[in-house]
């Protein structure tokens, strides 16, 4: 199998697994026990916390709360903080192209009585400060804007956005799950108050993530019990996973800059191969700061799931933003939010590259994709009518490039 879905999850790095293994057997102690075995586990857990705190530029390790993953971190950021700072309601802002872990959570909070506003990204795939500023109110409590988008890879300028949010007195949260270990991310430099992270996107284990909670922010634990994690997340800590998470962060940071250059080259090569070999294809976004390993593609006149299944038959694993892969009838909310028309959003592919991806993999993928797309287009009753050579003179000039989606 050629795995090209690293933005979905990654294999655990052998070095990470090796670091974790002792904490399943010889160092299995409960980090909250007073005797030696417990102390060993405690020290390992706190060392992991310190590594992660340092990696994201936190002022103090106690600002890191281990969670079950990015989704729990997002939920805690909103629910635990709101219970303290605005239990009776208030205004919340997030973007229309967030990961469901934030978007569905905020919609749910809307049903619980909070006022919610969704700020739209523009066609460049980013949230612009002037658009965000228009949504802010005196009673805005939390604003959450993702650092980088998981489908199209665009990176938001959080520093500007955070300034804008703080000027109205709200807290700023960011979902940084796709950014950690891949691009520069420093909570103090960016000015974020809360940030969510996950281990399994960076060759760490599934089932562990972290919430950065800036000191001084009120927090009423989502999960009650024995008071672990300084009473902010009860339950015996998963020391092995925390150790693995920290190891994964350290390895990613050590290799980050060289890996980012390598992956950006591979991504650009992949996009060039696909768009030069197939008519009516383009990168969904191609300008500005992006996550190096994500190649978002629009393949017009083909439905995404059928491409995905055919690629799977040939041993390639990729994602699509097609409706038909998700069970809903609407195409990807991310693509629609940046102005890609429905009929084109159905033919989206997200190819995401990672540590094991080679230039040969990228070439093999492009070689496999071309006949698959040609076959599916030939099977379509409308390809020639809508996208064929006859209609090529007035082919879409823009499908997500220049159109201003506005607020």
């Amino acid at each position: 199998m050629t795995y090209l879905d690293y933005a979905a999850t990654t294999p655990v790095d052998a070095r990470v697994l090796e670091a974790m293994l002792p904490y399943f057997s010889t160092h299995f102690g409960n980090a909250n026990s007073l005797y030696a075995a417990g102390r060993d586990a405690y020290h390992a857990l706190e060392a992991a916390r310190e590594t992660i705190a340092t990696a994201i530029g936190a002022a103090h390790p106690a600002e890191i709360i281990f969670t079950s993953g990015g989704t729990e971190a997002d939920n805690a950021a909103f629910i635990s903080v709101l219970r303290r700072i605005a239990p009776d309601g208030g205004h919340l802002v997030t973007s229309a192209y967030e990961h469901p872990a934030v978007l569905e959570l905020v919609k749910w909070l809307g049903k619980q009585g909070y006022d919610i506003t969704l700020v739209q990204p523009r066609a460049d795939g980013r949230i612009h400060p002037e658009d965000l500023a228009k949504t802010l109110r005196e009673d805005t409590k939390i604003v959450s804007i993702m650092h980088s988008n998981n489908e199209i890879g665009t990176i938001n300028d959080l520093k500007q956005l955070a300034e804008c949010v703080h000027s109205c007195g709200a807290l700023f949260h960011t979902d940084a799950v796709q950014s950690l270990g891949k691009v520069a991310f420093d909570v103090q430099d960016l000015g974020v108050d809360l940030a969510s992270f996950s281990a399994h996107k960076i060759y760490g284990p599934k089932g562990i993530g972290a919430l950065y909670l800036r000191r001084g922010i009120g927090f009423d634990a989502l999960i009650k019990g024995g008071g672990q994690e300084s009473k902010r997340r009860s339950g015996t800590q998963n020391v092995a996973a925390a150790v693995g998470f920290a190891e994964a962060v350290q390895l990613s940071l050590a290799e980050r800059d060289s890996e980012a250059l390598r992956l950006a080259d591979l991504r650009d090569h992949l996009i060039a191969r696909v768009t030069s070999s197939l008519e009516n294809t383009q990168a969904t976004v191609s300008e500005g700061a992006r996550i190096p390993g994500i190649a978002p593609l629009l393949i017009k006149g083909v439905e995404g799931e059928s491409m995905l299944l055919q690629l799977d038959n040939q041993g390639f694993a990729v994602s699509t933003g097609s409706a038909c892969s998700s069970g809903s009838l609407a195409a990807s909310h991310v693509l629609l939010s940046i102005g890609v028309p429905q009929e084109i959003a159905h033919g989206s592919l997200r190819v995401s590259l990672g540590r094991q991806t080679t230039a040969a993999d990228v070439d093999a993928f492009a070689d496999a994709l071309v006949p698959i797309v040609e076959k599916l287009r030939a099977m379509s009753p409308v390809y020639e009518r809508y996208f064929g050579r006859a209609s090529a003179q007035h082919a879409p000039k823009n499908t997500g490039g220049q159109k201003d989606a506005g607020v």
Binding site: E303, C324, S325, Q342, V382, K403
Partner: protein, 145 residues
Amino acid sequence: MIYSEKVMDHFNNPRNVGVIADADGVGEVGNITCGDIMKISISVDADDHITDAKFQTLGCGAAIATSSIVTELVKGKSIQQAATLTKQQVADELGGLPSAKMHCSILATDGLKLAVDDYLTKNGRTPLSGEIKSADPNFDPHADD
């Protein structure tokens, strides 16, 4: 969501892809903004039996598999039998469909009904179904340019 083996077989090896050049009836259903369009063409003999059926489909794995199996199911059947084929029968023939994909089998049976109606109308007869909506032939995906 996992497809049955039979769905994957019809998706990977679709039967009867194409258009019958001198078809007696043609039906095109679906909507490009929903991502699914199916076109089916049929040949009908003097006894109102379907002698050939071919399809073209833009859509997901289930849309292609349901289109494919429908062309197999109707060959040799009367137009009345074809027009009364249900989405559940199509799904059952494929060893079941994930619930989110049941709309794909409606597309296939609707396309078939429309092709039968087209045949009847062309021959000055009363359509059997009548209410099925054809795909919009005037849809312009470049309208926003």
